[in-house]
Amino acid sequence: MKIILNGKSKNVEAKNLQALLLELKFDPERALVSLNGNVVEKKKFSKTALSDGDKVDVFSFVGGG
């Protein structure tokens, strides 16, 4: 399906957020994800299904502070 990932159109295989992060090689534990403008809790990643045209923003944190 085709989603809008961080503002750009992208074809992906994943059917849910957890699978999407793994497909895109993001570490789910370090990722902040919003789906169509709403932040999704980490524990709901695998239960959150993706649909064609969804707007997904993924931000991956880097350690240090």
Binding site: V39, E41, K42, F59, F61, V62, G63, G64, G65
Partner: protein, 207 residues
């Protein structure tokens, strides 16, 4: 605060001290970022702050964190309280010596605060904390950091407005590890940007 206390803030831009006196902020973590952010805010004249941290001051912290040799082994929140009180004894400070987890986060973060500063070191903690705040403390501006280790150029430090009330500062790539290390000047740079955005938000200057 009496007239004598105000004297220490007279070099601020006009009105800054008066406005910041009524404001409170929440600082999550008292390491390189948190200790520097706290000191920048107290010098600007912030009225009250809450600081959370569960660590002790270690010798290896002193290359970049706002502690002193005679404070090694103290809890960071206790040492920071002392250091902030030396700058402004009238600061209202609440310290919480706990590790923030998904179980206690809702009790620890106040329902209202002028700003929330994310000053953790681990990426997983940053993600968990930001996720919670953006979902459950939507009305409070959140300023986070991602990527400040190593010796990269100052120009690589970017300010990203990632949401209506959400800022991310850093180079976005340089992880803290023994190979990269972390130098005082770069941590100070990032934490100063963090504090400055916070001050501007509190003064109504940041859109």
């Amino acid at each position: 605060m009496g007239i004598s206390g105000k004297l220490f803030f007279t070099s601020n831009p006009p009105g800054v001290y008066e406005k910041l006196q009524d404001k409170s902020v929440f600082i999550a973590g008292a390491g390189g970022l948190g200790s520097n952010v706290a000191i920048a805010l107290v010098r600007a004249g912030i009225g009250s702050m809450t600081i959370v941290d569960f660590d002790k001051v270690e010798p290896a912290n002193l290359n970049r964190q706002q502690y002193y040799r005679d404070q090694v082994k103290m809890m960071k929140v206790d040492a920071l309280r002392m250091n902030l009180a030396r700058i402004n004894p009238d600061l209202k400070i609440k310290t919480i010596c706990e590790k923030i987890s998904p179980e206690n986060i809702d009790d620890i973060i106040p329902a209202s605060a002028g700003i929330i500063f994310e000053c953790f070191d681990r990426a997983e903690a940053k993600a968990m904390f930001s996720e919670f705040c953006l979902k459950n403390r939507k009305a409070i501006p959140l300023i986070t950091v991602s990527g400040l280790a190593g010796l990269g150029s100052s120009d690589e430090i970017k300010i990203k407005k990632a949401g209506k009330k959400f800022w991310v500062i850093g180079d976005g790539k340089t992880e803290m590890n023994p190979e990269n290390g972390t130098v005082s000047s770069r941590v100070a740079l990032v934490s100063a940007i963090q504090a400055h955005i916070g001050i501007r938000i509190l003064l109504g200057l940041e859109k």
